[in-house]
Symmetry: C2
Subunit: 307 residues, 2 copies
């Protein structure tokens, strides 16, 4: 059963306006923004990743959902399975460090005893407030697609961690992008009042851009050549079309993408975003660069599925 | 590491007033009440429990935390690991039924792919509003301890389910108490304005009463003979002291206990609660009945622990 099929069975009970048809990263209840993301061993992190990094990532991915709604975090609730005293203590200390770094209080949650040998699965709920919470469904035909933040670095960092070969020149920054993502809270707050739609790039640039288009009933064209690449990523992975497609379909970046009116281009560029595409009437995702159209890769990003 | 030891490491980052020192069932942010509870296969439910009952229970245990704060539920977020299409579909349908029963909308959440073979672990966050959210720490010396709801029925239901012997006379109600607990939302709302402290009995009457006393810096004396027992429970388990201690230390009841001034006794009794004890200066839990003091059992209730 895919995520979509599961959600479909519950959609009839998500008719409250705050649920936004379950098509958004977060629920918006008045000025309140609520999100819940889980992190699963061997799915979202490697079993040998340091526990403090796992704690950081769990907090960061949830704060990234708040960033996509332009929200100021108010606090978090933790759902934690106790499993191994050493790992649990290192996780708690890492979470404490991350909470201090982002200035977010722990408000509550639940700890349970995990069955021995089970893969670890940790949940976090983040609560924030936003006076302008852009909807994923709000893009308009003619809007530009903008990106702020790095794309592909976390995917490269994951490959480095999996290969067990950190220490190569430039790999530290890529590993950090994978293990300690930075939610773009300030950027999200600055962009939210200008965004017709906004989302974070958790599953991959192409799949998340396509989701905004689908939710808004539009087509979106992405200029692969316009997607910025850091020197470290180019040094690690090259800069040909295959490398650019790999970056645009890797997950875990926690960049932000948004749809905005062309009239606001100057203000959005001043915040540091890059224009990478455009929304139009129609449906579907298309890809191009200055040499012309690019066939879509078979896989646009990460989709949760289990049969 | 115990739940308390884990929480202790994070307490320095839970200084926000809403966190209530992590000693409460829920966080209280202005009039907003937030709770997150998880349900774990083989810990909170049996692997062969029907998926729809597991969904019901997950929702009910979270709504019970809202009930203990006198809150009206506003919605829930689900954290769900996709694992098996048939089970997942039955769970989704059961959750839809439970949401409809309690009139609570699904606002959002997260689905992930679960590692094959892992024990299932499902999280839910519930949000509500309350104009009077009693704190677990607010009991005063001289307050009465009150109980509303059944004690020991879910424990008996669990024993029946484990023995695989449903169908005995009277066992249906006990099984239902275990599989489909009823959060006391209306009762919680009626009692909250009168309660100095209130909590739900999720881990056992004695341990949860002791937690209110500890959080309030008081002693509490419980009259075991005053704890009501249904005819079904007495028929199944008898009514001697051992049976009464077993009921008072079994978990999963989702009754409510509260501390209130003796002056409010008539109003509280009119809501349907039973007086079962008293708070006093000092510390610790003591147990008695009309025949005199009763030695404390070694185990007061359920504590999550993993070493």
């Amino acid at each position: 059963m895919t995520e979509d099929e599961f959600i479909q069975r519950l959609r009839g009970h998500a008719t409250h306006i705050a649920a936004r048809g379950l098509m958004d990263d977060a629920a918006v209840l008045g000025d309140l923004v609520l999100t819940h993301d889980m992190i699963v061993e061997s799915v979202h992190y490697l079993p040998n990743d340091p526990p403090a990094d796992v704690a950081w990532k769990l907090l960061a991915v949830n704060l990234s959902d708040l960033a996509a709604k332009g929200a100021v975090p108010e606090g978090v609730l933790l759902g934690y399975p106790l499993a191994n005293a050493g790992w649990d203590a290192a996780f708690a200390d890492g979470l404490a460090e991350a909470l201090a770094h982002f200035g977010v209080p722990l408000l509550g949650g639940d700890t349970v005893s995990a069955p021995a040998g089970a893969a670890r699965m940790i949940g976090l709920t983040a609560i924030g407030r936003s006076s302008h919470a852009p909807d994923r469904r709000g893009a308009r035909a003619g809007d530009d697609l903008w990106l702020i933040g790095a794309i592909g670095e976390a995917g490269a960092g994951l490959a480095i961690a999996q290969a067990g070969a950190p220490g190569e020149a430039g790999s530290d920054g890529l590993l950090a992008a994978y293990r300690r993502p930075r939610p773009l809270l300030a950027e999200g707050r600055a962009l939210a009042p200008l965004a017709h739609a906004m989302a974070d790039v958790s599953d991959g640039l192409l799949i998340d851009a396509a989701r905004i288009a689908t939710a808004s009933g539009l087509a979106v064209a992405v200029d692969l050549g316009a997607v910025p690449r850091s020197a470290a990523l180019t040094a690690y992975a090259g800069d040909d079309r295959a490398a650019r497609i790999a970056a645009a379909t890797a997950g875990d970046d926690y960049a932000l993408i948004l749809a905005a009116a062309p009239d606001d281009a100057t203000r959005i560029a001043a915040i540091g975003a890059t224009r990478i595409g455009r929304f139009a009437d129609g449906s579907g995702l298309s890809l191009h660069d200055r040499d012309g159209p690019i066939p879509l890769p078979r896989r646009l990003g990460y989709e949760h599925r289990r049969d």
